[in-house]
Symmetry: C2
Subunit: 155 residues, 2 copies
């Protein structure tokens, strides 16, 4: 059901994707994607009329991937994730602003905000990594102790 998917599409085309494709690419379900849209985690293409098919870009896929990744790696609720990524949505808006931002001061402000946002995320990720490293070290100590005791048995 995926081997005959080879149509006559040039592979580098920015062909619009449907929700099922996105789901499969990311490794999740269509329900999940719709749910994320429902709660505002995903933007939910504004100009879509009720009843029409959702369509996605590669960038959207990346977005979903990021969400799923953060969801799995950090233990955040989707609401916390929303708040964390809210800033990122704002940043996406700013990207569009970027092209028309003439003054250096404007651009600086945009970059500064992006930096702050990345910083927030980094802090979260880093803290959790440290905790995991601690746990890892403890487990390694435990293991060493066991090895030692095994060696003592051989003496």
């Amino acid at each position: 059901m995926s081997a005959k998917d080879i149509h006559v599409f040039p592979l580098d085309t920015e062909r619009p994707l449907r929700i099922g494709e996105v789901a499969e690419l990311v490794g999740t379900t269509t329900r999940t994607i719709r749910y994320y849209e429902e709660i505002g985690l995903l933007p939910g293409s504004a100009e879509r009329e009720l009843g029409k098919h959702r369509c996605y870009t590669e960038a959207d896929v990346a977005r979903v991937r990021e969400i799923v990744r953060l969801r799995d790696l950090l233990g955040l609720s989707l609401e916390q994730l929303s708040r964390l990524l809210e800033a990122e949505s704002a940043r996406a808006d700013l990207r569009r602003e970027w092209k028309v931002a003439e003054s250096g001061a404007q651009r600086r402000r945009i970059l500064d905000e992006a930096l702050e946002h990345v910083g927030t995320q980094l802090e979260l990720v880093r803290d959790r990594r440290v905790e995991l490293e601690q746990l890892e070290a403890e487990l390694e100590a435990k293991r060493s102790s066991l090895h030692e005791r095994l060696a003592e048995l051989d003496a």
Copy 2:
């Protein structure tokens, strides 16, 4: 409600703890502890008659701490956690076996099983840490890129 808790207890006594104390020590609730017992995550002191108060040792507190920690750090369901710690419960049993295990071969087997169990845990923790490190690196790259672009603005 905790400042007048200073009774006439020698501080190093292995005084049996009640569920409320354990909960506060660990930073959780009594309900959670009872729930964990209910689903078999906590052993639930076998020789307790129905209706009598649960009582815990410092070792039990450590156990609950470990569970909560693993729950928060790895994103496992309590059932997965159960399976992961099942081996550890078995190990606790083996500790008691240890004293009467006369032969070196027996002791070796016990240590080997403990080692395997720690290994399993280590693998999980390590994998997750690696994933977090990857994410961290990506975020740092992003941040660097932003810094660069800021510097370019100053040029």
